[in-house]
């Protein structure tokens, strides 16, 4: 520790303030930031949107693989958090007052959208029933109905919410073979794909900036260790 507050062996106010900044920056990777996790999420959103938008033929295995994307992404980002970004022990970012309210709102909005969309799917199915359509609608509805739970449990930060919901919605379309295709609602899907591409680009950029911040932070922490 450097020079004095009152005595020469005390940490200075500047050093304490640096320590505060460092703790906050490191703690951010417990919730708000996930660097490469956002880059991967953005990449996956882009790939899924591209495959859907270009009607690329996917076999059952390919569909399952891409449909499992959101779950693999959630596992991956949590692993990155615990083992890579918080490499020197966990530091939990303090909870802000508005976070619980925001999460409740996001979960509520997701729930109403997923219930409404499921209602449309069931209505469409009842009007023109076929077993093939029933199966794909079931998969589609299952993923949609899982969305609110996933948001509440794993997508607590705003960026994670955006990527996670986009990925889950794309997975639902990929797995079900898009039950909306060929209907007037296909235009809605097309609009969603365009929004997804923008989301993908933003997430890759955000993740890249966060990762650069992390590299800087890691250098600082390594220097601290060497100084000790």
């Amino acid at each position: 520790m450097g020079d004095a507050i009152g005595e020469h062996f005390q940490p200075s106010l500047k050093e304490l303030s640096e320590l505060e900044k460092l703790t906050r920056a490191y703690g951010k990777f417990s919730r708000d930031a996930v660097g490469l996790g956002h880059v991967l999420g953005g990449g996956l959103v882009f790939l899924s949107a591209y495959l859907l938008g270009h009607h690329v033929h996917l076999g059952v295995f390919g569909r399952l693989l891409l449909g499992a994307g959101p779950f693999a992404w959630i596992l991956g980002k949590e692993w990155l958090r615990g083992h890579y970004y918080q490499f020197s022990g966990r530091v939990q970012q303090p909870k802000r007052v508005w976070e619980d309210v925001l999460l409740a709102m996001l979960t509520g909005v997701t729930e109403s959208i997923s219930l409404t969309t499921t209602g449309f799917v069931v209505h469409g199915l009842l009007q023109d029933f076929s077993w093939r359509l029933a199966l794909s609608s079931l998969v589609y509805a299952a993923l949609l109905l899982a969305m609110p739970f996933m948001v509440w449990r794993y997508l607590r930060a705003p960026y994670e919410f955006v990527v996670g919901v986009a990925l889950l919605a794309l997975a639902a379309l990929l797995l079900s073979g898009s039950p909306l295709a060929g209907t007037p609602r296909a235009a809605v899907v097309l609009g969603f794909l365009q929004v997804s591409n923008v989301v993908a680009l933003v997430m890759v950029l955000v993740g890249f900036v966060e990762h650069m911040e992390f590299l800087k932070l890691r250098r600082k922490m390594r220097a601290l260790k060497e100084a000790a």
């Binding site: 005390q10 505060e20 022990g89 922490m221 601290l224």
Partner: protein, 102 residues
């Protein structure tokens, strides 16, 4: 006694100790902090850090949680409400003493 000296002498000695001041400063910025992080940023040895943590725990300024992550034991620390107010009070008192000193 001179007013500025009195200000310094009445500082909370539990918080004033440099290692403990660093520990509380770090804990005040987070919900919970693992021992390993404190060890890294403070540069203190495990034994030294543990003894300061015990002192702060005795004073009621922090809470210690021991648990297992997989098969490995881990320790997590959380600043208490009285720890937070002690740190705030210490800083205010110190600033006042420094201002009086000029």
């Amino acid at each position: 006694m001179r007013a500025d000296l009195e200000g310094f002498l009445s500082l909370d000695r539990v918080v004033h100790e440099p290692a403990r001041l660093v520990i509380l400063t770090v804990l005040a910025q987070a919900e919970e902090v693992e021992f390993r992080f404190l060890e890294r940023v403070s540069g203190l040895t495990k034994g030294n850090l543990s003894s300061h943590i015990s002192r702060l725990e005795e004073a009621g300024y922090l809470a210690v949680k021991k648990f297992f992550r997989g098969k490995l034991p881990a320790t997590s620390l959380k600043i208490t409400r009285s720890g937070r107010s002690a740190l705030k009070g210490y800083r205010e008192q110190l600033n006042r003493a420094l201002q009086r000193r000029g």
